[in-house]
């Protein structure tokens, strides 16, 4: 059932109105008559599965796309927004997942980039400096304005982006997956800033796959599915289950699928693995048929440990045993030949060649199996890929579609396909569901369980504690490069238990 909330009161509380926005791309009707209203001092949660049209809606607002039909009104005035600059002038600032900061410039230089305070052509650094400090005080943050952006943490960069938006007098700030790479404390700080912005009368559109955050920070939530507005709800009038149902279009039973566990023999054993300060004396083992979860804060050394096992980096010391045999893994190629695979957390940067087709990406680690004589057997490659497209339900326009044009969930499925085709014994998943919608998440959980049942050793790194607790048979918690502890009785463990291990 779809219930619309009452129309907001007319008058000056209405900040932004998008009326019947329609947008088509060749082959895709991305937005179908979508309307929304945003009031002053309101946080609107924008949710939907990948490909639902969230990004398109935001890009229309931000001047990256022109709508085919529809109107945009800001404070009652109609605006034509053909470019990002026009959006800025209209008071709209968009903070994308990939920040638009220039790493080599300082915080202050980035904030005033393109709008430098000058006198006779010379930059008035002192004036910029004091303005920046003023901004930072306003949102209660404390960052060195002369630090280079490359030296900042992701969370700090994000606050710089927010400060930059405020410095151009933005009335509407759009945040696209702002917490995807933040730690729990950083997320809390961001929420404090958002509440502060609200109190200053700004309107915020908040996009996130993490629905618990929507419930925490948003006043209302609007749901898009297949380019259509499914509904807009007051956050106090809706449940999590209902929200998921609206997004997916069907009721979802349980968040984490259950399965019976019967761990077999040891597949992987790591002893005393070290690399600089990132990985210190890490030892653990993983057995066939189990899902071994890795929990910890960002920077705890989980990803770095896996890269050592996969041969992507060289360890200072340490031993790796695969199926009980001591093995030197000198390169990722070596690891693959030893039946290990790694699905990296950075899908776009490390998992895919974005400018190449889905089929080529699928084939890349599998070409040794597609060689016939001197040449590649592309028919075999296509046939095998077709099988995965079907079984993983990958949505493509064709095998030759470029992976850069896929939604995040489908990109992840292509990465899954390319590694599943290797049929490895040890599969390492680094944040396998980051930035992925609820429906696809569930499919990935099912798949991970199935792989474990097939007798593979699964290692899963996740920063989402419910996910680690819901999926793992055993959990290893890391902190500052060391193994902090191991949890075998997962069923009787709480998020707080893990967190206290991960922090202290």
């Amino acid at each position: 059932m779809i219930v619309m909330t009452k129309e907001p009161e007319p008058g000056n509380s209405l900040l932004l109105e998008m009326r019947q926005i329609d947008k088509s791309f060749p082959g895709v009707h991305a937005l179908k008559n979508v309307s929304m209203k945003l009031r002053r001092g309101e946080v609107m949660g924008l949710v939907g599965e990948n490909g639902a049209g969230k990004s398109t809606l935001i890009k229309v607002l931000g001047g990256a796309h022109l709508p085919d039909a529809g109107k945009i009104l800001i404070e009652g005035r109609q605006f034509h927004i053909p470019s990002p600059t026009a959006a800025q002038q209209a008071g709209v600032s968009i903070i994308y997942q990939e920040f638009n900061l220039i790493p080599g410039l300082t915080v202050r230089e980035n904030i005033f980039l393109g709008r430098e305070k000058t006198r006779m052509g010379f930059v008035r650094a002192a004036e910029e400096h004091s303005k920046t400090l003023q901004l930072f005080r306003k949102i209660g943050i404390n960052i060195d304005t002369n630090a280079r952006c490359s030296e900042l943490t992701v969370a700090q960069q994000q606050t710089v982006e927010i400060a930059k938006a405020l410095s151009v007098n933005a009335k509407i700030i759009v945040m696209d997956e702002p917490t995807a790479t933040l730690t729990t404390q950083e997320t809390e700080r961001l929420f404090a800033i958002i509440r502060d912005l609200k109190s200053h009368g700004l309107g915020i559109i908040y996009i996130s796959h993490r629905l618990d955050e929507i419930f925490e920070v948003a006043d209302r939530a609007m749901v898009l599915r297949d380019g259509e507005l499914v509904g807009t709800h007051d956050i106090n009038d809706i449940t999590l289950e209902k929200l998921i149902e609206m997004m997916v279009g069907r009721p979802v039973e349980s968040e984490f699928p259950k399965r019976s566990i019967s761990p077999g023999r040891e597949r992987l054993r790591v002893e005393d693995l070290c690399r600089g300060k990132a990985v210190r004396n890490v030892s653990f083992s993983a057995r066939a048929g189990e899902v071994l979860g890795f929990a910890g804060l960002i920077g705890a050394g989980r990803t770095e440990t896996m890269r050592l096992i996969f041969g992507a980096d060289k360890p200072d010391k340490g031993r790796i045993f695969i199926n009980g045999r001591k093995t030197d893994v000198r390169s990722p190629g070596d690891a693959i030949r030893n039946r290990i695979c790694l699905l990296t957390e950075d899908r776009k940067g490390q998992g895919l060649v974005l400018i190449h087709s889905c089929r080529e990406n699928f084939g890349l680690p599998n070409l040794d199996r597609f060689v016939r004589g001197m040449f590649l057997d592309q028919r075999k490659e296509r046939k095998e890929f077709s099988g995965f497209v079907q079984s993983l339900r990958i949505k493509l326009t064709g095998h030759e579609q470029l992976t850069m044009n896929l939604s995040g969930g489908n990109q992840q499925k292509v990465v899954l396909a390319k590694w599943l085709a290797r049929n490895a014994d040890i599969m390492i998943f680094d944040e396998p569901t980051r930035g992925i919608d609820v429906g696809t998440k569930y499919e990935i959980y099912l798949l991970i369980n199935r792989l474990a049942d097939e007798g593979k050793a699964i290692i899963m790194i996740s920063s989402e504690l419910p996910e680690v607790l819901g999926m793992s048979d055993r959990i290893i918690v890391m902190h500052e490069g060391r193994v902090k502890g191991e949890i075998t009785d997962v069923a009787n463990t709480t998020q707080e238990d893990i967190l206290s291990m991960a922090i202290a």
Partner: protein
């Protein structure tokens, strides 16, 4: 199918456009002189004249019309025209022949030429000076309109001119697909030519047998391959920017080429040297055969082998490729070796075409080669590009140069035009791939 071809090789349109353009501008009256024209004229004479008629087959001392006259004479003899005389020479020779016939009291029935002879003054003066021959007929095969640009000899010249650049562009395409660049190829042309010819000189010089040439070539090419391997190693192992690495090699190789010869050219080379660059097999220049074979091999290699696919992957996303088990360092060293081997082969062809080894050949060639690759649609940022696109790019450059030569445009202007056309061609390709000119002009920054 056509659409895919056009999207993969959009530059083929530019090439065709250029060909049409130069064809129209070089359209000219052509005199047929081949054996087909001889046969046609023989048949005409057979029908119109008696076997005893006196016929003169006249050709100017210019290779084509002379051989035409000789061939016609032979054919008429075979047909039984016993009073045929072949005259090859200057107008005076024709006058002497006419005087001779008059002295013998014969009656001239026809003068057969391949065309240009009809414009001789002697012929126009026949009614006045030789009134008794006023009944003689002028016979010539029908002339026709055909562009000089599209003549077989010119088309072969286009290929011949670009062959060195086009060959080297094969290796350069692979390097650029890995997001690299190789500036050393121009200098390696000289290094290979100098090393090769010097070896030939030491192994017997002018009197050396054919296999010496082969040895010289192989040593020259392999030396370049070693240089390329070193460069590739520096790029792959120490992560020095390819631009800087190959810039260094470019300077060193050029210097080495001059050091080896002391700055002089090497002329004491075997007689077999020109075979590769100037010889023909079955009527086709050897260079053209080599070009076709190597492009076919390179295309199949890039499109249908594992290593080819790896080359694209390394250029598309080095880290993703490495984490997929691609031996990235090996791939990088490999492409620089191929590029250098191709440059070495280019040097051998150049030496063969010039019949000498000179340390100052190939200057600026790296830029023409890069231009051919880029015009051919390969992106300098790596990960995409096609071998056959590069061939088209090389031809575009060659066609422009050739066309301007035919039109008599002087060389300074040619450089300006060539540069502008290269830029225009790339812009056109960008416009096409971003969905038409209008979309291109309105294009905004994507983020």
């Amino acid at each position: 199918m056509t659409r895919k071809l056009l999207s993969d090789y959009g530059m083929i349109l530019v090439l065709l456009l250029l060909c049409v353009f130069f064809s129209v501008l070089t359209l000219k009256e052509q005199m047929p002189r081949g054996s087909a024209a001889v046969a046609l004229l023989t048949e005409q004479i057979n029908n119109e004249f008696k076997k005893s008629d006196i016929i003169l087959a006249v050709g100017a001392v210019n290779k084509n019309s002379a051989s035409f006259a000789e061939k016609l004479g032979e054919e008429l003899e075979k047909e039984g025209f016993s009073n045929t005389t072949v005259v090859v020479g200057v107008p005076r020779d024709l006058r002497l022949a006419l005087d001779d016939i008059r002295a013998k009291g014969g009656e001239l029935a026809a003068i057969a030429t391949s065309g240009d002879v009809t414009k001789w003054g002697v012929i126009e003066l026949i009614p006045e000076k030789y009134p008794e021959f006023s009944g003689c007929k002028m016979l010539a095969p029908k002339s026709y309109m055909w562009p000089v640009f599209l003549k077989r000899s010119n088309l072969l010249a286009i290929v011949d001119r670009i062959v060195v650049i086009a060959l080297i562009a094969i290796g350069m395409t692979m390097v650029i697909i890995t997001a690299g660049i190789d500036l050393s190829v121009g200098s390696l042309i000289a290094l290979s030519a100098v090393i090769g010819t010097l070896l030939m000189k030491k192994m017997g010089g002018l009197q050396a047998p054919g296999w010496v040439v082969l040895v010289g070539f192989l040593v020259g090419i392999l030396s370049c391959g070693i240089v390329g391997a070193l460069g590739g190693f520096v790029v792959a192992r120490f992560k020095v920017a390819p631009f800087i690495t190959t810039l260094g090699i470019m300077m060193m190789a050029r210097g080495l080429a001059f050091m080896i010869t002391g700055g002089f050219s090497i002329y004491q080379v075997p007689k077999a040297l020109p075979w590769l660059g100037q010889g023909r097999s079955l009527g086709i220049p050897n260079t053209v055969v080599l070009l076709v074979v190597l492009y076919a091999v390179a295309h199949i290699f890039m499109a249908h082998t594992r290593l080819g696919r790896y080359i694209y992957a390394v250029g598309g996303n080095k880290e993703a490729a490495r984490l997929s088990g691609v031996p990235v360092k090996f791939v990088i060293v490999f492409v620089y070796i191929i590029s250098s081997l191709a440059a070495g082969l280019g040097g051998c062809i150049q030496a063969s075409q010039l019949n000498t080894g000179t340390p100052n050949i190939g200057i600026m060639y790296e830029l023409y080669v890069i231009a051919a690759v880029v015009v051919g649609g390969t992106s300098l940022s790596g990960g995409s590009g096609r071998i056959l696109g590069t061939l088209i790019g090389a031809f575009i450059i060659s066609v422009i140069q050739n066309g301007m030569n035919l039109l008599g445009i002087e060389s300074y202007t040619q450089q300006v035009v060539l540069g502008a056309v290269i830029l225009g061609a790339v812009l056109l390709d960008k416009a096409r791939s971003s969905g038409g000119m209008l979309a291109f002009l309105q294009k905004k920054k994507k983020y």
